[in-house]
Amino acid sequence: MALTPEDVSRIASLARLDLSDAERHDLLAQLNDFFGIVERMRAVDTSGVEPLYTPLSAVQDVHLRLREDSVSEPDNREANQKSAPAVEGGLFLVPRVIE
């Protein structure tokens, strides 16, 4: 099953990427190459196998750790916003989304 140029455009849109025509062209060939390798993997019978989402659960029970629901971080707004592209009055600025 080969990807089409339309597939590449659809994925780019899902990934919030704008691609140039040259990038689109290269990616189509590269993704098709890549999924050629992947085909071998799809043929393996994995029925009854549990997915291994986190590696240590291969040998032990891994349970999700939750912390106490209490305030642990101090207010560090100024430092946290130091690298923001646009900030005003402690708020992140973005283009208008509600008219």
């Binding site: 590449v8 919030r16 590269q30 190459d33 993997m41 994995t46 590696p55 291969a58 130091k82 973005v94």
Partner: protein, 498 residues
């Protein structure tokens, strides 16, 4: 003596500092001058003399006040960090234009733990963009160059770390390994690098690539030096949800102690080393294979027994990894939207266009490729066929290791199928993925692995021996590496620099 300081390792420098034969400020100045003299290697993305010398001055003061010894074995020893760890004192870019000029408000746990142990950070080291790559050519800033032949790659993604250690710019460095990014550059530059068990080192403040695979690890000249660094880096951290609540052993003691039944002549007596037949087949360069076999013969002389084992799904680890890692990456990298930090495009009409333009300008080609793969395999209608299938195979790969460890204590093989290639010589990104075949299986299973210098292969370039241990067996890997390094001097060879 000062002209030789850079030739010394972590443990040797700590001893000199303890003996007051050199101060940390003198040592730091010496290495900073060396970093500047070898700027053309492209190892560093940021250096800050003022910051480094202030830390060195503080280390000297602590030592003068008697605060040193067992609790602070790295006090005053200069190191540097892969630029995938966020740092308060230096910019943190992940090798990407997306994070150009980014200043983190906090230090990664690995960084703060090394600082607490007294290590002096000189700066930040080059890497493939967001740690995606095995050549350092994907750095948005500059390629790092292999000091053994500067027309060749140092490997990656921790390429700058490998170069800095191999070129004797620093005695030790931090790296990260998602699919081989500590072990492969260590192999290609002739240094020692260990990827610990998943969960051993905190991922807090490590700029995320693939969260179920990312692990921090030290790179240095010897297994013993790696043990010193790993000791400081390891341990439970409540700020990382997958950090393991696992006691940290005394790695230095485990590295050097004589094991039961062993002797000084035969330190590896009783150790069974499994050789997966899939690691020794076609596709491995003859010079690499010969070097690895010679190192294995050396381990045998030291008392180890070699046994054949099988990891039957070794080849499948390539598609499995390159489904799972990009899937996690596409999710992790969705945070770069030009709002809270990172690059924001200049021209856009609305919010959607701002996201797309900022991401398209900020990310390089390999990062875009992996985001595309990840977005596709996670998308509606493809999730089961790709992502879920890969996660099931991942368990089968992990189970294969447990089956192999019934017959052996450690697993050995090459790290990479070839020595370092020329910079710019690989234009097919998918072909490049195939070269990760021997490091991916342990990554997928979350097992610890080490690369130790084993000699030289094609074109006189370094070759590493990979050893893989069972979960939490970093000490056994370091011990075997140390035994090899007591009997051979491959790790002491230094490149002649222009």
């Amino acid at each position: 003596m000062s002209h030789e300081l850079h030739m010394l390792g972590v443990a040797e420098l700590a001893a000199l500092l303890d003996g007051k034969q050199v101060s940390s400020v003198e040592l730091t100045k010496h290495l900073l001058a060396r970093v500047a003299a070898h700027e053309a290697l492209g190892a560093f993305l940021a250096v800050d003399e003022e910051v480094a010398l202030a830390q060195a001055g503080a280390a000297d003061l602590w030592r003068a006040r008697g605060i040193h010894g067992a609790g602070h074995p790295l006090l005053g020893v200069p190191i540097a960090h892969k630029d995938i760890f966020v740092t308060r004192d230096f910019p943190s870019t992940a090798g990407s234009k997306m994070l150009a000029g980014y200043h983190s408000p906090f230090d990664a746990t690995v960084v703060s733990r090394l600082a607490a142990a007294g290590a002096v950070a000189l700066g930040k080291l080059n890497c493939d963009e967001f740690a995606m790559g095995g050549s350092n050519e994907n750095s948005a800033y500059q390629p790092a160059r292999n000091p053994w032949d500067t027309t060749r790659i140092p490997g990656g993604s921790s390429g700058g770390s490998a170069v800095a250690v191999a070129a004797r710019l620093v005695p030790g460095a931090t790296g990260t390994d998602t699919g081989g990014s500590v072990r492969q550059p260590a192999s290609l530059t002739g240094v020692t690098g260990i990827k610990p068990t998943y969960g051993r080192c905190s991922r807090y403040g490590m700029i995320a690539f693939a969260s179920s695979l990312d692990q921090a690890g030290p790179m240095a000249r010897s297994a013993l030096d790696c043990a010193h660094l790993l000791q400081a880096m390891s341990g439970f951290d409540p700020r990382d949800a997958t950090s393991a609540e696992q006691p940290v052993p005394d790695f230095v003691a485990e590295t050097t102690a004589l094991r039961p039944g062993a002797s000084a002549d035969r330190p590896l007596a009783g150790l069974r080393i499994g050789l997966p037949k899939e690691f020794f087949g076609e596709g491995v360069a003859p010079g690499v294979l010969g070097t690895v076999r010679a190192a294995l013969a050396e381990l045998e002389k030291l008392g180890a027994t070699l046994v054949e084992v099988s990891l039957p799904r070794t080849e499948l680890s390539i598609p499995v990894y390159y489904i799972i890692a990009p899937a996690e990456a596409s999710s992790n990298l969705s945070r770069y939207d030009g709002v809270r930090y990172g690059h924001r495009a200049k021209d856009y009409k609305d919010l959607g266009e701002m996201y797309r333009a900022s991401r398209s300008e900020g990310f390089g080609p390999e990062v875009k490729r992996r985001i595309m793969i990840g977005a596709y395999v996670l998308s509606h209608g493809y999730y089961d066929a790709y992502y879920l299938q890969a996660q099931k195979l991942r368990r089968m790969i992990a189970d294969d290791f447990q089956a192999a460890f019934k017959d052996c204590d450690l697993i050995a093989g090459p790290v990479a199928p070839t020595v370092a290639r020329a910079i710019g010589s690989q234009t097919d990104p998918v072909a490049e993925y195939l070269a990760d075949i021997f490091t991916l299986p342990a990554s997928l299973a979350g097992l610890p692995g080490i690369s130790v210098p084993a000699g030289f292969g094609e074109h006189g370039m370094p070759v590493g021996l990979q050893l893989i241990g069972n979960y939490w067996q970093e000490g056994a890997l370091l011990h075997a590496g140390h035994a090899l390094q007591q009997a051979t001097d491959w790790h002491c060879r230094a490149p002649a620099l222009a």
